[in-house]
């Protein structure tokens, strides 16, 4: 799903750029999410919606909701309205398998989607866009398929329920009803429009041009006749990072013309790189991110050496001025992954007022991340090829709403 940075045309540093290929802030600063929401035309996820989620699911909202990681949406309130009336929905998310190495930023949408699956008791389809990576990253077909399977193992290790989850790779699944929908969508998007939305040019090969429908149609239940036969009105909710918005703006534009419901979206901000807020983590720079294959030693090292600190240069200055929480990466990471709200508040207070030192915060973060990565590794070890086959088998899911 996430397509990578293209060596871009003119990305004016005077404007922030957010699209599936590139994410960069204005003048090398921070991403202005308010401006982004304005520009894209989506909605802020406010407290009232989060409370509603709590009421409807009878459990504490996920840490990503509480901390504003998932902060924007389109039609999420309509999904909740329908749910309240007893009308279910299904989840759709995906991954572009460009590399074997997954970092924590990659896991975020999956961790959140797992929570949504459990909390709302709804089924999930996960798309592995091996075709996209084959085209954009110039991988061989076999390599991209292999990466798709490898990534599937990490995804499964996040804890999805096999009786409610269908994972598919484009190379395996495109065809039949799925392809019929792709053609229907393609007919509704002119070349000019596609070039406008995605920045394609006359130099791009036609494979790229024809890809967007592939990512669009999993939003329509009729693309999965083995899962949702006769349920053409089933709504779809797509958890994704906000840079994927263009794909789904296009989809939402097309849906009514095909007589389909528009998919709803719930969008996250970007997980900052270890070195600081400027942009996303990059799979090509091993020190910009914590990988799921990192050992406890690696994690400790990376955090101590590379995590950008908002603390002051000297202990005295720090005690006097406190830390700059705006730019401090360890605190940012803790706000993503430290479950306990009061503990986080305590850390922010003490650190922000200079009583806690950077070393302590980093130590806590190392603990939290090591535990997470360890747990992921254990689960990953239990994922066999057979289990991947089971998740990817085109089979009905009779208990998908239980």
């Amino acid at each position: 799903m996430e397509v990578d940075k293209k060596d871009e045309n003119e990305s004016e540093s005077s404007e922030q750029v957010v699209n599936p290929w590139e994410v960069s802030a204005k003048d090398g600063g921070k991403i202005d999410y308010d401006k982004l929401i304005d520009k894209f035309g989506c909605q802020r996820l406010d407290e009232s919606l989060i409370d509603r989620v709590q009421r409807l699911t009878s459990r504490q909202p996920h840490v990503f909701l509480r901390r504003g990681v998932f902060f924007a949406h389109r039609d999420f309130n309509e999904i909740l309205d329908a749910y309240e009336k007893g009308d279910k929905f299904y989840l759709y998310t995906g991954r572009g398998p460009s590399s074997e190495a997954l970092h924590l930023g990659h896991l975020i949408p999956f961790m959140f989607t797992k929570y949504l699956q459990e909390a709302f008791k709804v089924p999930l389809v996960i798309q592995l866009t091996d075709d996209e990576k084959c085209m954009w990253k110039n991988l061989s077909v076999e390599e991209s398929q292999r990466l798709a399977r490898e990534n599937a193992k990490d995804i499964i290790a996040c804890g999805f329920d096999v009786t409610k989850t269908f994972i598919f790779s484009d190379f395996d699944y495109v065809g039949g009803a799925f392809y019929k929908n792709m053609v229907k969508v393609s007919k509704c998007v002119t070349l000019n429009k596609a070039m406008g939305i995605f920045g394609f040019s006359g130099e791009d090969h036609i494979g790229k041009l024809s890809f967007p429908p592939v990512q669009a149609v999993p939003s329509f239940p009729s693309s999965f006749p083995h899962l949702f036969p006769g349920k053409d009105n089933l709504r779809c909710l797509i958890p994704c990072a906000i840079d994927q918005d263009p794909y789904f703006r296009m989809t939402r534009d097309v849906a009514p013309r095909l007589g389909y419901s528009k998919p709803a979206l719930i969008e996250s901000s970007f997980f900052p790189a270890l070195q600081g807020e400027n942009g996303k983590m990059s799979a090509s720079d091993p020190n910009s991110a914590i990988y799921v294959t990192d050992t406890a030693k690696d994690i400790k090292n990376k955090i101590n050496k590379y995590a950008f600190s908002g603390g002051q240069d000297s202990v005295e200055k720090h005690r006097e001025l406190g830390a700059n929480l705006e730019v401090d990466i360890p605190v940012k990471y803790l706000s993503f992954f430290l479950e306990d709200d009061s503990e986080l508040e305590h850390i922010k207070k003490e650190y922000g007022e200079g009583r806690m030192l950077t070393g302590e915060v980093k130590k806590k973060l190392t603990e939290v991340l090591t535990e997470m990565v360890e747990r992921h590794r254990r689960s990953r070890a239990a994922v066999t090829d057979e289990m991947v086959d089971a998740f990817m088998a085109v089979r009905p899911l009779p208990s998908m709403f239980e």
Binding site: R149, T163, R378, E386
Partner: protein
């Protein structure tokens, strides 16, 4: 019924896999084979069939020059340093349905070998062609790894290529890198007396009958060598084995209750600990469920239609 050489070769032809066949007197060793098939035809392979203490079986197929250290392999599989030994002859006959000197990757075509893990030398990939016995030691075939892969995929096996000479450290922070290739099921072969506890084994039928693997055989307490590797294993077992599953739950819950009883926890902290525990246990339960479903899926895929 074990696959015959002819059936295998037919299948290769059906799949349009390009291979060259060499017939020769029966050979039991690579040296003997080398007399009849020259290295210009392709890279000869040495094939090892071994098992671990929990009756799980493995075929390792490697280039003749590749050094295969069984101790290292055993560790990389998460079985501790001395966790493997060569498989007995009966296993060769009953699981792989080939004769002595004839171990070959192709043997996994047999239903009886479905739980045998196949590890291939990644050096094969650099070769134009590699040479294996097609279920008979009177014949050798040379083919490219892509052909072998195609064949394996046709029998729903994922080709697994491994750097057999690598010797990565295995410890607390470095889990055994090949542990994922340990078969999920152990196999009970009738007539093996050795140290294993004999269970209700089906009366030995003629060679052609399938040996039904005893799925989820209660594993004996893992040996305490290589502590860290064992921890990895027992967690994996918790995903498959109901007893281990419950043990994990009991362990974790009692740790929490004990610390609460000792008054180590303030109210709020206890609340968080409970939540964390709930989330951890739910995760454990999901993996357990997924594993069970996968075993059922496997059974479904391989179940034979009712005989009319």
């Amino acid at each position: 019924m074990g696959f015959s050489k002819d059936q295998l070769l037919n299948r290769l032809q059906e799949l349009e896999i390009d291979y060259t066949k060499y017939e020769h007197p029966p050979v039991l060793t690579v040296e003997a084979q080398a007399k009849y098939v020259s290295s210009s035809e392709g890279a000869l392979s040495k094939n090892l069939f071994f098992k671990d203490k929990k009756h799980r079986y493995y075929i390792v197929s490697a280039m003749v020059d590749t050094k295969v250290d069984m101790k290292v392999l055993s560790q990389r599989l998460g079985l501790g340093k001395g966790g493997v030994r060569m498989a007995p002859e009966e296993a060769l006959a009953q699981l792989l349905q080939v004769s002595l000197g004839c171990v070959t990757p192709f043997a996994v075509v047999n239903e009886s070998a479905r739980d045998v893990s196949l590890l291939l030398d990644q050096n094969f990939k650099n070769q134009k062609r590699c040479i294996f016995h097609p279920l008979s030691n009177e014949v050798s075939v040379s083919l490219n790894t892509s052909g072998l892969d195609k064949f394996l995929k046709s029998i729903e096996r994922d080709p697994v290529y491994v750097d057999l000479e690598a010797n990565p450290a295995v410890g607390k922070d470095q889990p055994p890198d090949l542990a994922v290739y340990v078969p999920s099921n152990s196999v009970v072969i009738p007539e093996i007396t050795s140290e294993t506890s004999t269970k209700q084994t089906p009366p030995p039928k003629s060679v052609s009958a399938e040996v039904k693997p005893v799925a989820s055989a209660k594993p004996s307490k893992p040996a305490s060598k290589g502590k860290s590797v064992v921890v990895e294993n027992s967690t994996l077992l918790a995903f498959k084995n109901p007893e281990k599953f419950v043990e994990e739950i009991m362990d974790k819950t009692s740790a929490l209750l004990l610390s609460e009883a000792k008054g180590e926890n303030v109210e709020a902290l206890a609340e968080t600990r409970r939540k964390l525990l709930t989330s951890e246990l739910t995760h454990l339960a999901i993996m357990f469920k997924n594993t069970a479903y996968t075993e059922g899926f496997h059974a479904g895929k391989h179940s034979q239609p009712k005989r009319l």
